[in-house]
Amino acid sequence: MKICVLVKEVPDAAVTKRIDPATGRLDRSGEKNLNPYDTHAIEAAMQLKEGGQLQVDEIVAITMGPESAVRALHKAVSLGADRSVHLTDEALAGSDVAATGYALAQTLKRENPDLVLLGQQSDDGECYTIGAVVADHLQAPSLTQVISIEVDGDVLRCERQAEYGYDTVEVELPAVISVGDAINEPRYPSLKAIMGAKKKPLETLSAADAGIDLSRVGAAGSQVECGSFKAPPAKAAGTIIEDEDTNETVEKIVAWLDERKLI
């Protein structure tokens, strides 16, 4: 079987994120890295392959992004993916979540995978939704926020993190599964794996190569329009109550909370 892992290049966690006021998009000019959640998805794929219960013939890392995103793919293959696909096209710039999901789904259709894995969220946009959008386009079942995958015959038994506790869900393949960071502890790539990463096949696709309808992608093809952005309001200075008489202080605190309908 074939597993495709969707990965994304994001601003490094150490970089302070800001919106570029000129474009209304996230400023991605600083140091970048492979989205940390995606490393868990690759590790999940590797564990399925190494677990031996499924015959995993190939793990393919796929990304959509500018030229620099090739580095995220290098990291993905150094972590164990067998090859990678880079969808890159000026026409894709500015795509919103729905457009990105459509473009990735078109790319996935060329690969026809049995299982699609991805991180449940990106460290920059944090939409949590790409998996569901991709699954919709592929007409495959979608599971999100999965923190455990077990192979049981032809089905995968997954635990997904729910608001209260966990849901245990069985899913037949093909399926699209987004994973949380609690699912595993990603390995560090060895130096040999890093050196070998550049030797693994890398396919570069344009939007046309992937059969993408240009009217459905890019800023123009996106439904989401960014209006204005502003920084969250600075916190107002707090109220300091000097504790001179404790009974009085308690009364003051209760009155303060009551005023704000907090109690």
Binding site: K75, L191, K192, I194, A197
Partner: protein
Amino acid sequence: MDFDLPDGHELLRRTVREFAEGEVAPVAEALDREKRFPYEIVRRMGELGWMGIPFPEEVGGAGGDTLAYALAVEELARVDSSVAITMCAHTSLGTQPIYLFGTDEQKAQWLPDLTSGRRLGAFGLTEPEAGSDAGNVRTRARLEDGEWVIDGAKQFITNAGTDISGLVCITARTGEDEISNLIVPNGTPGYEQGEPYRKMGWNASDTRPLTFTGCRVPEANLLGPRGNGFKQFLHILDIGRIGVAAMGVGLAQGALDQALAYAKQRRAFGRPISSFQAIQAKLADMSAEIEAARLLVYKAARLKDAGRPFTLTAAQAKLKTGRLAVRCAEEAVQIHGGYGYIEEYPVCRFYRDAKILTIGEGTDEVQQMVIARALGA
């Protein structure tokens, strides 16, 4: 000119950084306090190929180059110098002599275990009366019935006394005006490792005096041609300087990162101390000096990888970075104020770890000698 690291090197740098922050940082304080050798970290670094970075795959190495090695050392030293020097001394002092000067048999016997980190290599050069004057070797080795019989003592030797130490490569006088290198495996009768030193820093690294008393090794343990020992160790030290210089940059960067983070969070007079010019000037100076030093280290590594002469640049890098590490550690402690004098904060350890960088692997004064000689002074 291209100042960007190649993709693979950049990925290695990030990986070592993630490892250092994720696996080393949480235990660094305890290892230092308990003077405990980092066996588990060394084992994992071995699995990742980091205990044999600049050696080709044919001999079990990771097939990297000197730049990759320097980057890894730098990122380790940014978090912990004990772990960095363990890897650094093992690679450029312990393994390099066998890789460069060993016979096919010696390489086959030792390199797979060394480059994988299963065993550690050590280099025994310094003696009580042979430090900067390293040619003044008193340890003697005489041939007797097809064996070298070694008598003498070495001191300040890294990696010789751990549970996984495999060998020490020593310089010994094999004739009146003749120095040769000999391989002495751990466990050889007559070869003993003394108690670890009580050091100012590098507390989790293994440093001991060694004694050789009628210690016999096979004649075939001679490393390279007899009498080449002096030339050989000068070359080894040249290479080693790149690693130690990378440690200086790493420690300085770590000190800056710690100081910056602290300055942004620490408030005085109603605002973060990072908003005060006096603190900003320190941070800015550190940053500018570190970047200059880093370029010098990478240049030395690049020259070596290109097969060009690197002795001068390596000595310049070593001189520059040792002093830089000491100064940055001091400034970082200063920025931390009283907290910088308390062991819970890493800069306190950095301050103690930094000083050896102006002494070990050739003192600043030796670097100045090397540089002045290259200038034709």
